[in-house]
Symmetry: D4
Subunit: 148 residues, 8 copies
């Protein structure tokens, strides 16, 4: 049995690498998917594919067309969603993806630092598992497959 | 035909009053619902109902139990969701409610200032209507009922 | 038992009046809903509520934001959808509404002239009832309530 | 991860070839499905399988039985739907397929010429991505798989 | 709390009257709905509304258009379905309605004579309650409301 | 706005009275529904309506036909489910109703004594609110309606 | 792309063989599933697995437990359902399976002799394709895969 | 065609081994999944992954986070659920899993000793098959695949 896990969260640094590497070391039969991790490309993918846009809002709107297309397709394939929040950035699309996962009955693993307990309390309350490190999230995934 | 509209967003000031008053003046057959608007009570409702909690995280968790119960019941009754974002606060539960609305095929009206266009671009992209003022949101609701 | 019926179709003339009048004469307990029937207002509702738009495509996009909001809310309330096609206009949004009705398991009554049999054959094939006049559509609605 | 993409639209010319070829050159792991592209066969498949029909309307109805069977089966397998509109033909079944995709939460990529912006505005408003060329549509598909 | 109960079954005799009368005597807050009970009208409703049909099969097909429209609308309103089978007639549409009820998670009460136990065993196996008389079916409905 | 609340749990004593009385004193607009509370009648309702049964297992099976019919109809009307566990009895049907509520996205309020924390941990983990007294459960319901 | 097709209908003769053979000759990538075709075993599978039953009705009920388990599992895997009616037998479980397919949005191909047009008119009206021979049904399946 | 079967029930002894071995001997193409069968690890998995917890209730809550995550993922993959009840233990999570299966339209095979007929009567009434031994459950699974 193979699982697909969507990694929702900011794309300014490479936090996903730790999850992928640890899962790989454990030999977990998991395909990880997620947003475009090249931040600059993600922000300009609308213009790249659809051409120049009349103003900044439409640059953003065109980019989100493509980013939402990608997220919808890949999230629909996911068995589990990991959403990772950090102290920087607005991360409203992370909250959007986390909530979409819950609404579609896909279990959510939430990673967040202690400092964000209060503002994330409603999302945490709906997550299946709440943890603070990538290592814990991978162990939660591993537990799904373990037999003893 | 009567509609139920859920007003998602922060509860630190009374932005909902303008919407309720304008809708009332127009005589729109709408029942507005939403979270507990008394911020202090919302943060301590867990202890108020379930008793003292061992630590701050559990105070938050107990409060979110009750707040999520309320949101789930009232959001399930809603025909439309208005989500209002401002420049202060994390507002991740607003994003969670907005995304839940979309996932449940409830149309979303998003109110946000121009300064938040970029970080809200993916949510805006999925909203039915994106506007900047409460007045515009009420006019959008009114349009659903107008006959000429 | 009361029913809600959505009247999908072009808004250049007042074809809906015949249906409403005939149903009213028969005393059918039906609330009819549908799009804004003032064509000019429908085309400019985006600017009216959201303000001036940078170009014609965005005028159209803003108008469709509001028109789709209205359609989604009212269609979700409907028990039956009547879609009326005529020989003029593209009417792709009529086809969109008819198909949305079918996908949401809402029975569709299709009204179309004989001349459109061929291009509408796939939609007709999925409709519950296909007829040529408003009078026939109202009789079909009436039959739902008749007891002998 | 492999995807299935349904190509909705007219079958009078071979516009689908460009999409298939470009996707093939990029090595995208996509299976393309769609309607019978032999127009004459599509129109007479009812008689071919079910035998002679008493009149022209029933020839059309029998053909649409088979065409709708095919569309329903293949659309239900699709992860993404591309709907292509051109300046010729009624294309109401294209609008029907596009709307069915949206109602079933399958992302829609809409290809249409600038001249059709106004009549397609409500469908465009619900599409994930709106573009003007097959090349752009393939790039949108490719973006789902790209990692940098 | 009011319930809607759909009475599925043949329309050659007035078996529904006993159910309606007994429920009425018990003062149960139930609205009963069901097919057109005038058998002749049910068989010719297609021609009555849509006009003369080219052959007998199309007379039947047109009639079933209207009968299925009625059933779909009323069954979608039902909280419970009673399906009554007797020793005469094919009653395949009764089996169709019973199965549609089960598939839509609407509890089914099956009334059938002892002689039909074997051929109805798969449907009986999926019904919530299987009984032999209208009186038993009404008592089952009444039990939903009783408080002691 | 009125709510329907299903009260799941054993029927050997009248624990539901406290909830109904407290909610009534608070003037909450709630209709409470639930199983037949007359335990003896609940156990013999199969024979009462369907007649004598060949053995004890079939007495039980016939009774559960009627009890499940009642539960399915009333649970489908509920906006919230309260499940109350005590130290006596197997209460597997209470667990069944609680789980059905969760699966149907109906928020669950769980009442259980401290002594049952361990064996109920998986159900508690899925409940919206977990408390120990009827008073707390009613306060949770009341909070849904409060405005300050 | 492979499809699964459920073959619903009586199990007194081997009508399914013709479908399987013709599909095999055409090389269609289809897995056919269906009920146990050994009629005697189907009728006694309850006793075979669960042991002797107290009376004939319970023999039937136990058999239908196993037969319905099988049908539910296999029907849930099916992309298309073929239901075949003949002039003999009650065939109410065939009607049940056909209706379950329709309710679950699985396209239905109905095979029936001309003599059954009238009693099957409501089911035929909901089928995607109605034909008279196994050969036609296989051609309909084949059409789903053909490219010219 | 391969099936996935979830084995719900207590984890204090190795009752699942008999099912797995018998299915293996029959060569059934079934992947069995289920909860962590190491009881001690199941009870302490919360602390193992998430670290020390402030009190016993939170040890239980953390463990159930992980156990529910596992169950949700694996149950969502299951085609059939087998729930086994014995005379020891509370087994409320077994009832929860059984009911979740039913609510998600996954057929349930219930194994229970004769002594539990009465308290399990409502769950038994909703199961597809009720039996007393693992051997019977495996035969029921085998019957899904048999062809004569």
């Amino acid at each position: 049995m193979e699982l697909v896990v969507y990694l929702a969260g900011q794309i300014h640094d490479n936090w996903r690498d730790e999850i992928r590497e640890k899962a790989s070391k454990l030999g977990l039969p998991i395909t990880f998917v997620g947003p475009m991790e090249n931040h600059d490309r993600s922000d300009h993918i609308g213009e790249e594919i659809l051409g120049p846009q009349p103003n900044k809002m439409l640059v953003d709107d065109a980019a989100s067309d493509l980013n939402n297309l990608r997220t919808e397709v890949l999230l629909s394939k996911a068995d589990v969603v990991i959403a990772c929040f950090g102290e920087k950035y607005k991360q409203w699309n992370t909250a959007m993806d986390a909530s979409a996962a819950i609404s579609k009955n896909k279990p959510l693993i939430l990673i967040r630092p202690e400092s964000l307990i209060h503002p994330l309390k409603e999302i945490a309350n709906k997550a299946s598992v709440v943890c603070e490190t990538a290592d814990q999230a991978v162990k939660a995934l591993s537990y799904i497959f373990e037999t003893e």
